[in-house]
Symmetry: C2
Subunit: 158 residues, 2 copies
């Protein structure tokens, strides 16, 4: 199969300089703000994004230098396959986060629910559409047992 | 910014041979089955994925040959920015679908909620984690008006 060449479309700026600073998912530390700075040639593509409350950001885990097919997630000490966890150390090092849009000014989109490292290369922005992206009756594998009775596990709150 | 080289990790097989066959999102035509065939060298990474009901597939819109920064979505005749719609004709041509896992046999993952073309190159598989990926209080921009009172618009049902 042919390789695919991706050209970053912008840069994500966040307060997180090292992996240890980052919450397991941005939704669990929702008072932190980041922004993405889009290459100005793509600015027109932002039209009407501000009418959405959330966006899906796809980006490059550029600080990960390894690929682990089996790994321990942050939440527990059991090993799982890389496709059953959200670790950056995965084939192709592609990351995905759902963020809450605060405002858009020219080529900059400001958001909360941040969980990326500062200066992360941005690959795509998609609108989060609740009719397409929310799911009911979800079973979340090994993760569910850490969220029993609606609790958020202590290890998630940094 | 440096280009990113992506090596497809497998192929997605679906009954959809041309774009006009595809539902706007797989969730609206949920009796169709597809499967992904993972390159065997990544097989170990599937461990424990079968304990999830849903997965996020990231793939390459390899049949799209153009980039439109402004475009009309399938649901209406108004133009929107490419980052406010889910069209394949976007910078980097990266697609994202949430699918429902039916079974996993060796290197093949069978699923429903299919909305990709047959023979689509697969880039990543992430587990759908309801605690990370579902969102409440979502406003879905120009899309919401097409789903008033919980209705699914006629143009979505092919």
């Amino acid at each position: 199969m042919q390789n695919i060449i991706i050209k970053p479309i912008g840069i994500i700026h966040t307060p997180y300089k090292t992996p240890k600073d980052i919450p397991i998912q941005g939704i669990f530390k929702n008072n932190i703000e980041g922004f993405l700075s889009l290459n100005e040639k793509y600015c027109e593509g932002l039209k009407d994004l501000e009418a959405y409350s959330h966006a899906i950001l796809i980006y490059h885990f550029d600080r990960s230098q390894k690929e682990d097919l089996i790994s321990k997630p942050f939440l527990e000490n059991e090993e799982h396959g890389i496709f059953a966890i959200r670790s950056p150390h995965r084939p192709n090092h592609i990351g995905l986060s759902i963020v809450k849009i605060k405002k858009i000014i020219e080529n900059k989109v400001y958001f909360t629910e941040v969980d990326m490292l500062d200066k992360t290369p941005l690959i795509d922005i998609k609108p989060f559409v609740k009719q397409f992206d929310n799911r009911e009756n979800v079973v979340s594998g090994w993760v569910d047992k850490h969220f029993t009775n609606g609790n958020i596990p202590d290890r998630v709150i940094l």
